[in-house]
């Protein structure tokens, strides 16, 4: 049997990521630089626990994000769903990449999923923020190693406590 999944840590970190993402300074230009915390934390748990993060988790989380941020209903849900779907296919390989390579994969993943946003907004006739599409994945890429180390530390500690 596989090790028990640390649900308290998973859900706790995801909720914290949601709050962090909501902290973004609104309409000012800095908001373009605000990292996509929820996507990053979800990516980490996908890599670590694989199929235990199911698609409906991503959808639920995305809808909550849509509601609280006030964008089109389903936009974040679609992005997170696609992230989870792709990661389930490639996670066994990506897990053992070095940090810089992982960061690059994450840049590509986020850039591709943001294209979904561009496409849907274009079709539905909403305006598009071009800077965000480029800058957001870059910020995420820079943040990834640090976030990975932090989450890994928490995850390991939780596990050690469980096995004692």
């Amino acid at each position: 049997m596989s090790a028990a999944i640390a649900w308290p840590v998973v859900s706790g970190s995801l909720i914290l990521a949601l709050l962090l993402e909501l902290l973004s300074p609104g309409l000012s230009a800095v908001s373009v630089l605000w990292p996509p915390f929820v996507s990053l934390v979800l990516i980490y748990w996908c890599l670590e626990t694989g199929d235990r993060i199911e698609m409906w988790h991503a959808v639920a989380l995305g809808l909550l994000l849509d509601l609280s941020r006030g964008v089109i209903l389903g936009q974040h849900a679609l992005e997170l769903l696609t992230l989870v779907f792709i990661l389930q296919k490639i996670r066994l390989r990506v897990r053992f990449y070095p940090f810089w390579q992982q960061s690059f994969i994450i840049f590509l993943l986020l850039f591709c999923t943001l294209q979904l946003e561009v496409l849907s907004r274009y079709i539905l006739g909403y305006p598009i923020d071009h800077w965000r599409i480029i800058i957001n994945p870059l910020v995420a890429m820079a943040l990834w190693p640090w976030l990975f180390l932090l989450l890994d530390y928490l995850h390991q500690r939780f596990r050690q406590r469980q096995f004692k």
Partner: protein, 283 residues
Amino acid sequence: MAGRNHNSHLFLESVPGSLKYLGWVLLLVALMIGDARNGWLTRSREILAFMLEPLYYLVDSPYRLAERLDLWLEKHEQLLEENEALSRENARLKLDLLPLSHMQEENRQLRELLNAPPHRDFNTRMARILNAGLDSYNQNLLIDLGSEDGVESGQILATENGIAGQVRSTQAHSSWVMLITDPDHALPVTFSNSGFRTIAYGSGSSKELVLPHVPISQSVSEGELLVTSGMGGLFPAGYPVARVSALSSEKGERFKRITATVLARLDELEFLLLMQATKEVKP
């Protein structure tokens, strides 16, 4: 390790997984279209407000804490100085207002003579901004006053520089504000020089409005002030809104291309003034 028993995924396409994904995608696309057509987002937000409200207050708490700390750390003398400066400014402003109150009374009497309806009076209240529509496309703000504070949808928000927006929906302790720069917002305005009335639409950027309905023949100068016209009855007349920042007219087109810079600095806001109409004075 979790997932070791699912190794087959590395080599085998899991058909059910892809089908599940496709199903979810179709569902979400339907949701997005439904939202774009029928505004499901705003409605579900109103329904789920009880759940989201504490979330916003929680998110706001670090900002509040930082502000408190800032206040503590600020030196006593500095505060005293600031206090003195503010009270001096207050006295000066009061002096400026003295002739105004006389003029207001005169104006009221003249309006009475003309049988014109009276101007609306407003109570202003400070509203703190809890959250901004984080998406820079939707120009929304959440303020910390709600229906229990007497906020109603349609009430106006302004800054000391000019009109900022209107209340779109209310919850018990917070309300959503649609800024005048929201692409869905239309604001009746008047050009201060010519008196020409038109409508200013939000551009989606927090600095600009667009005015697409000004005919080529109309003379407009750069830097001209736009004030609310009072048409439509929602916004009171005569409040400054924006200044014309760019105008061009191309041959063969019937309308000028005009953009105007919003006077209220909407991207640096911390507080807004909520204008609540008091009971109208009977003539």
